[in-house]
Symmetry: C2
Subunit: 378 residues, 2 copies
C-alpha cells in the first residue's frame, strides 16, 4: 500500500487579509504531480480542509475542483476527515454519494469504526471530535478528556481489525509531546487535548495526523504529522513544507518526503529603514513574498508602513527589533498608568500606534464617549 | 411520465424569529407519502431549496436528510435547481457524484442545455440566473433583460429537443402576469424580471416553475407554479398549499393537486382585547398556530403584546384595524413635525411604539447622542 499523506489545507486561509487561494491552487497542483509520479493508491487528507466553518464561495469552488480532480478525474481513492476548523455538517452534504467512487469523507465520530479497505490495508478515518461527542456516542460519562475518549475509540477500532490486513489511522488532534506553531488553533489548554503517542503506535502500522502545521512537531517513526502545504505564519518561516509518501509493506513503514515549492513564500527581512528602501537591498529580495519586516531603527519614522509597502507590497508583520526611543505606554508602570486620565491614555496610545495625534473631532467624540460611559456606570 | 412538482422549500425559513424546521420536516414527510401513493417516476424541486445563501447547520441537516431519503432510500430520480435564495456554489459541492443515482442538481446556466432523459421525457433544468450570466455565457451583450435572455435560452434548449420525446422545463423566475405574495423576494422592479408565458408554453409540454408562493399566481394550463409547502407570510393565509402530481402522456398534461396539512397553520384572528382574552373565544382557536392578530379596540392598552402572547404564544403580527384614539406622530403634518426638536420627536415615537415613556437614563443617552451628532455635522 502506497499513499500520499497531507493535512491542514486550510482552503480560504488569509494571512493578514491577503487571500492565499492562488498559492493554494498552485501547491495543490504540485500535490497532483507528486501523487502521479509515485503512482499512489490513495490520497489521505487528515483534516482542516477549510480554514473556516463557513468558507467563502471562492474557497468552496477551489476545494470542489481539488477533490473532483483527485477522485473523479485521476480516480484515486480519497480518504478525508473534518478537522477543528471545518464544519462537519457543512462538509458532509454529498457524503453518501461520494462513497461510490471511493471518496470517503468522515465528519462524525460514529463513522470512524467502519474501516475503509483498500488493497491489503484497513483505514480508520477519525474526524476531529470533542470529548462530549464520545460521551454521547459511547453513553459513558467517564470520558472527560480526549485521551480517555481515544482509549475507548481505539478499543472500538481494534475490535474491527482483520489480522490479515495492515492498519492505518487518520486523525486530527494534538499528540502529546508535539510542538505548536502560531497559526494553529489551540483547542484546549492544560493538556486536556493531548493524546498519548504510545496508544497510537501500539495498535496502528501508521498514523496519519493533521492539526499541527510542522511535520517535525512530533518525533516518531510511524505516528506522523504531514504539516501544511504552505507556511501560514511567521513562526513557520523556517519549516520546509510538503507531503509524505507512505509505503506500507508487511506492516513496515517507509517514508519519503516530497517538498512543495510555494508560489509566494513567507520570509523575514531585517535592516534599518534606509537599508530596506535602498535598491541594493530590495533588489535581492523576492518582493512578491509575504514578509515579516524587522526594523533595526529606534527613532520615530512617520508613515513607516506606507513607505515600506511601496517597496514591499505584502508585509504581514512589522517589528522594531531594538525597541523605540521615546517612552511608550507599554513601558510605564501599572501605578503610573492608573494616575493618567482615560483621554490622555487613549491619546498616547493612538499616537504610538499611528504616529500622529488625535484630530480635534476625534478628541471631541472621545470626550463625549468617556463622559457617557462614566454616567452609565453611576 | 408521472412526476411530483414542488418548489420553494425555503428550508431554514423563520417567521418573525420562529423556526419552521419542525413544520418543514412534517410537510416533507407528507410529500414522501404523496410520491409513494402516486408511484411517481421523479420528484422535481423548482428552486429555493434553502431560505438563505448560507443556511444554518440545522437547515443543512434537514435538507440532507430529505434528499437522501428521496434519492438514495426511495430511489426516485430527483431533479432540482437553485433559486434566487440559494447560493449556487454552496449547493453544488456533491453535484458530479449525485448524477450516478439520478439526482440532478443544476446550479449553473451552462448545465441547463443538457437534457435529463427519464422515460419518454427530456427535462431541462434551468437554475435561477441573472441577465449578466446569460450575457457571459452566450457572449452576447444584447441580452439585457431576463426576457431576451430566456428567448436565447429557449432557442438553445429547443436545439437539443428530440422530437420523439416530451419536453419539460424546470425553472425559477417571475412569469409575466403572475401575482406576488409578501414573502417572496422581488428580484428587480419595473418588469425587467418578467418572462412571457407564451414563449414557454409554445415550446414545452409542461413548465414546472418555482419563485412565487401561490400556486394560483399564474393562470395557465401547462405553465405552473407549485407554490410553497407551507404558508410563509400572512398574505398567504387563504392559500391552500400542496404539490402537483403531473402526468404527461403524448404531450398531454393531466394535473392533480395534493394538499399538505401543516403541523402549525398561519391564521388571522380578530376581536377586541377583552374578547381575545376570553376563554369562549380562545378555546376555539388553535393557539399553537402562527397568528396575525387584528385588534378592534382604539384605546391605549399597556403591555398589549405581553398580555396577548400569554394566551397566544406565536403572534407574528399585531394590527389595530380601527386605528387608535390619541393623536399619533404619523398623523401630524410635515410642517408640524419639522417644528419639533429631535428629543421630543423620538420620545413621542418611543412612547407610541412601546406605550411607555423614555427612562431618565435613556433620555440622557439620547441627549448626548443628539449633541454629538449635531457637532459632527458642524
Amino acid at each position: 500500500m502506497k499513499f500520499l499523506h497531507t493535512a491542514d489545507w486550510h482552503i480560504g486561509k488569509k494571512i493578514k487579509g491577503y487571500s492565499l487561494l492562488e498559492e493554494q491552487l498552485e501547491a495543490y497542483e504540485q500535490v497532483l504531480h507528486i501523487a502521479d509520479k509515485h503512482q499512489v493508491e490513495a490520497v489521505v487528507i487528515a483534516g482542516d480542509l477549510y480554514d473556516r466553518s463557513v468558507p467563502s464561495v471562492e474557497a468552496i469552488e477551489l476545494f470542489n475542483q481539488m477533490v473532483q480532480t483527485i477522485n473523479l478525474e485521476k480516480r484515486w481513492p480519497l480518504l478525508a476527515i473534518s478537522g477543528n476548523h471545518d464544519s462537519a455538517i457543512r462538509l458532509e452534504a454529498g457524503g453518501p454519494w461520494y462513497e461510490a467512487t471511493q471518496f470517503h469523507l468522515n465528519t462524525r465520530l460514529a463513522q470512524a469504526f467502519k474501516p475503509i479497505v483498500l488493497g491489503n490495508t484497513q483505514f480508520f478515518l477519525l474526524p476531529y471530535f470533542e470529548p462530549f461527542e464520545a460521551r454521547q456516542y459511547f453513553e459513558d460519562e467517564s470520558l472527560k478528556t480526549i485521551q480517555t475518549a481515544m482509549e475507548r475509540v481505539v478499543e472500538e477500532m481494534t475490535a474491527q481489525f482483520d489480522p490479515n490486513y495492515q492498519h492505518v489511522l487518520v486523525a486530527h488532534f494534538f499528540a502529546a509531546g508535539s510542538e505548536r506553531s502560531d497559526s494553529e488553533t489551540a483547542v484546549t489548554v492544560g493538556g486536556l487535548d493531548n493524546v498519548s503517542v504510545s496508544l497510537l503506535e501500539e495498535h496502528f502500522d501508521y498514523v496519519a495526523l493533521g492539526h499541527l502545521h510542522n511535520r517535525h512537531a512530533l518525533h516518531n517513526e510511524t505516528v506522523k504529522y504531514s504539516g501544511t502545504l504552505l507556511k501560514y505564519s511567521l513562526s513557520e518561516v523556517n519549516q520546509k513544507k510538503g507531503v509524505w509518501i507512505v509505503t506500507l509493506e508487511d506492516g513496515k513503514v517507509t517514508l519519503e518526503f516530497e517538498p512543495i515549492k510555494p508560489l509566494r513564500d513567507v520570509e523575514v527581512i531585517e535592516g534599518s529603514f534606509s537599508e530596506l528602501l535602498s535598491p541594493e537591498f530590495y533588489e535581492k529580495v523576492n518582493r512578491d513574498n509575504y514578509l515579516g519586516v524587522r526594523l533595526t531603527d529606534r527613532e520615530v519614522i512617520p508613515n513607516v508602513m506606507n513607505q515600506l509597502t511601496k517597496v514591499y507590497p505584502k508585509i504581514i508583520q512589522l517589528d522594531r527589533v531594538n525597541g523605540r526611543d521615546r517612552q511608550s505606554i507599554s513601558s510605564m508602570s501599572q501605578s503610573d498608568l492608573q494616575k493618567q486620565d482615560p483621554l490622555t491614555l487613549f491619546g498616547d496610545f493612538f499616537k504610538e500606534m499611528t504616529e500622529s495625534p488625535l484630530s480635534e473631532f476625534q478628541q471631541t467624540v472621545l470626550t463625549e464617549t468617556i463622559q457617557l460611559t462614566n454616567k452609565e456606570g453611576e
